[in-house]
């Protein structure tokens, strides 16, 4: 495993700022772990601790109340939060789709023997997404729409990613939107990818962001700035060193070593793709996720 | 009919080991009415529970009709000393008396009749709809007696059944028991503290020693079969017998050695 760099002494002998980041222990956040490992944060005077929560329910309030300085969340959740007036603000890109149809880190899968051939056939079918009224159903609808089907006829069921392979296998759902590593698990059981919903939603869709609270942004812009810089460096590094990413995954996840090489890694561009977010916001609004459009200018770093 | 042979019971548990009964042997003929007296704590209740098949003896055995008793035999009724706890607090008096009858599979009408009669016999006709805990101690005890009486058992075991009732009621109940015994030919084993009662009721009186408990004496009550409260108790033979039993119990309590001549001491 990559030898952890000794934390570089912060300038001026100042005590490093202790920074807590609320993350979900999944593939998507590999850059921050890698960046920490590489010393991108310590060299900027930040002593980083990752707090792994299971989702927005725990991370957003943690950031709002200042228990965490930063958090990781998918963009739809952030847009919803913003439109509801949650005082948060995006600070760095999180993760993005590979943009390659059929080769994305997430996709709509069906069982090998399923009659469903394309996203068009999903109309009238039961599709699993990890959370309803979120990026999953919006992007799946986009796939269906793009394939010429009726997006309104898809029935969504909420099932957590880890349970999707079993639900699909047992026929409890007709299709599922899964991400890695569940995607690999489904494919290993003979599942097929019928559409890459992120790709169908927008080119190079930005899927998640790191964010902070308005309060921290106002009180300590310097820290936010340093975090942004470190994050940018980490993202760029991760994007360029897929092998090290696979390696770092073994430290904070339990992904089976055998399936590691086959995982499709997402893209980690240094900056979010504004255009893709606008498209997503538009689609989300169509789906009724929020009444007033989120202020993307404020949300997106 | 009922044979108790070499019965021994040792309680152990809670850090205590008590030899409640050391060695009891006696026999009850079919249709006999035998009273048991003995000092407090000598093991009368223990004996009764063993006979009822509720408690396994440590050694020795109880035979009913020649077969060993290991579980409560059917057609046996027991009136427990702890009358208060032996009534079901969630059932009204009538239901308490009726339950065993229902268990016996008697038709409804017959059950009603038995319940009503039994309650009337113990003077509790108007308490039928009360809960046991709404009754006085003596009334509760009488409910327990009524339950046994209504059951029309073949063998009736009674453990100080009249302890909580007043003198007059007690006399009435004594006569009720003898009536019942005559009428139904039931075999009765009757534990009491009241020596007069033992002599008045029983055909025989078994006197137990104090711990370690053995049978101290078996005394045949040679009073005429037709007894009544006034004349029988006035009979000099009655007085002689009761005095003899009293002395035995006294001696038993003091742990004196058994007197050598057993039978003629009372004469």
């Amino acid at each position: 495993s990559p030898s952890p760099n000794p934390p570089a002494a912060p300038e001026g002998g100042k005590q490093p700022d202790s920074v807590k980041v609320g993350v979900i222990p999944i593939l998507d956040v590999a850059p921050i772990y890698l960046g920490k490992d590489k010393g991108f944060f310590s060299s900027r005077g930040m002593d980083l601790t990752m707090e792994s929560g299971q989702g927005g329910a725990a991370i957003v309030p943690g950031v709002v109340s200042g228990q965490f300085q930063f958090g990781f969340s998918n963009v739809t959740s952030l847009m919803v939060a913003q439109s509801k007036g949650v005082p948060i603000k995006g600070v760095a890109n999180g993760v993005a789709s590979t943009g390659v149809d059929g080769e994305d880190f997430g996709g709509i899968v069906v069982k090998g023997d399923s009659p469903i051939r394309s996203a068009k056939d999903l109309a009238g079918k039961k599709v699993a997404v990890n959370t309803l009224k979120n990026i999953g159903d919006t992007s799946v609808r986009a796939s269906v729409r793009k394939a010429g089907g009726d997006p309104g006829a898809v029935r969504f069921v909420e099932i957590a990613f880890p349970q999707m392979p079993a639900a699909l296998d047992a026929g409890q759902v007709d299709a599922a939107w899964v991400v890695e590593p569940s995607l690999t698990a489904v494919k290993a059981k003979g599942g097929r990818v019928v559409a890459s919903n992120f790709v169908d939603t927008a080119p190079d869709l930005t899927v998640a962001l790191y964010f902070t609270s308005d309060k921290l942004q106002a009180d300590n812009p310097d820290l936010v700035k340093r975090f942004q810089e470190a994050m940018r460096e980490s993202l760029t590094y991760a994007d360029a060193h897929p092998d090290e990413v696979r390696q770092i995954l073994t430290t904070y996840t339990k992904i089976d070593a055998a399936s590691l090489p086959g995982l499709i890694l997402p893209k980690w561009p240094a900056e979010p793709n504004r255009a893709s977010l606008e498209e997503l916001a538009k689609l989300s609004r169509q789906d009724g996720l929020f009444a007033t459009a989120p202020d993307l200018a404020k949300l997106v770093p | 009919m009922l044979d108790v042979r070499g019965l021994r019971k040792v309680y152990s548990g809670g850090g205590r080991r008590v030899e409640a009964v050391r060695d009891l042997t006696f026999t009850l003929g079919a249709g006999e009415l035998v009273c048991v007296v003995g000092p407090s704590g000598c093991g009368k209740t223990t004996l009764l529970k063993c006979v009822a098949g509720l408690l396994a003896p440590t050694s020795g055995e109880v035979l009913l009709h020649g077969r060993q008793v290991t579980a409560p035999p059917p057609a046996m009724a027991v009136v427990f000393q702890e009358y208060g706890r032996s009534l079901f607090p969630w059932m009204r008096v009538g239901e308490n008396v009726e339950l065993p009858l229902r268990q016996k599979g008697l038709p409804r009408a017959r059950r009603r009749e038995l319940v009503t009669d039994a309650l009337a016999a113990v003077g509790l006709s108007d308490a039928e709809a009360a809960y046991p805990w709404q009754l006085s101690g003596g009334m509760q005890q009488r409910v327990a007696i009524a339950r046994a009486v209504a059951f029309e058992p073949e063998v009736l075991l009674m453990d100080e059944p009249f302890a909580a009732v007043d003198a007059q009621t007690r006399a009435d109940l004594e006569d009720l028991v003898r009536d019942l015994w005559h009428k139904l030919g039931v075999t009765i084993l009757f534990v009491t503290h009241d020596i007069d009662e033992a002599v008045y009721l029983g055909q025989r009186v078994i006197v137990l020693s104090s711990s370690p408990t053995v049978v101290r004496e078996e005394l045949t009550v040679d009073l005429p079969d037709a007894r009544d409260q006034l004349h029988t108790r006035g009979d000099p033979r009655f007085t002689a017998l009761r005095t003899h039993v009293l002395e035995q119990v006294r001696a038993a309590k003091k742990g004196l050695p058994l007197p050598s001549p057993i039978r003629d001491a009372g004469t």
């Binding site: 299971q54 329910a57 725990a58 | -």
Partner: protein, 272 residues
């Protein structure tokens, strides 16, 4: 019904306890065997529900990881502290409310109102107040376990035998003495059940809190295993929580044998 059967005369208590232990092991073994067989029959896919043997393997590797023991210690700490707070608070409140009828009437509706509020709904609150601190876990654990104890105490207090109560009053025992010598022993069997219920609920909540909030502990490890599709590892960790439950119950039973030696439920098993 073998408890009441004659013949249970006086077998030596230690021997009985030995049999009890073996029966318990047999029971667990039966459960584990069933869990081995179910996926093998194809009722569910072993990929999603691995057989016991596969879980045992994962458990074997799991226990060699020092981080596992750290997580276990973290969970146990949250559990024990939470349970302690909940039990003390539950007992004190319960006795107080139970012994003073007016208080009981006054609080009944509020208690009934608060009890069904799920701890999971309190997660944002906990995170808001304490982040991923152990206090978050404690808040959830205590909240959930408290009601279990409280309710049992309330019912237990009501179980006092009126004759015993009258005896105490007639001998001039004042309220605190009556609580200590009459009310408390009466409620104790209920309290024991309450503590056993609360112990399991506290464990469940400790793990859930870690699972969702990410406070360090077994739950956080389960979450990682879940997210990583590491099915056998996940079940291995779940099995650990199950085993913890078994151990906790053993402890509770031992305490019960000592403190409730006088009670019908315990004495009935010693004497025939």
């Amino acid at each position: 019904m073998d408890d009441q059967a004659p013949g249970g005369g006086q077998p030596a208590a230690p021997a009985r306890r030995g049999t009890t232990a073996w029966l318990g092991v047999a029971g667990l073994a039966t459960l584990l065997a069933a869990l081995e067989i179910v996926p093998r029959t194809g009722l569910v896919s072993p990929d999603f529900f691995p057989p016991t043997s596969r879980i045992a393997q994962a458990l074997a590797t799991e226990v060699t990881d020092p981080a596992f023991w750290v997580a276990l210690a973290g969970t146990l700490k949250g559990w024990a502290l939470g349970l302690l707070i909940a039990t003390s608070a539950g007992v004190v409140t319960g006795v107080l409310i139970g012994a003073v009828p007016v208080l009981r009437e006054l609080t009944a509706s509020t208690i009934e109102f608060l009890r069904p509020i799920p701890s999971v709904a309190l997660i944002p609150l906990a995170v808001l107040l304490f982040g991923t601190d152990i206090r978050s876990t404690l808040l959830l654990v205590t909240y959930a376990a408290f009601w279990q104890v409280l309710l049992q105490v309330l019912y237990g207090v009501q179980d006092v035998d009126p004759v015993a109560e009258e005896t105490a009053r007639s001998y001039g025992l004042r309220a605190p003495a009556r609580v200590r010598y009459v009310l408390w022993p009466t409620a104790l069997p209920y309290v024991m059940t309450g503590v056993r219920l609360a112990a399991a609920v506290a464990l469940v909540l400790a793990i859930t809190a870690e699972l969702v909030i990410g406070a360090p502990g077994l739950g956080a490890r389960i979450a990682v295993a879940q997210q990583s599709n590491a099915v056998p590892d996940m079940y291995a960790l779940v099995a650990v929580t199950g085993l913890l439950g078994v151990l906790i119950n053993l402890g509770a039973r031992a305490v019960e044998r000592r403190t409730l030696a006088w009670h019908q439920s315990v004495r009935g098993e010693v004497v025939a």
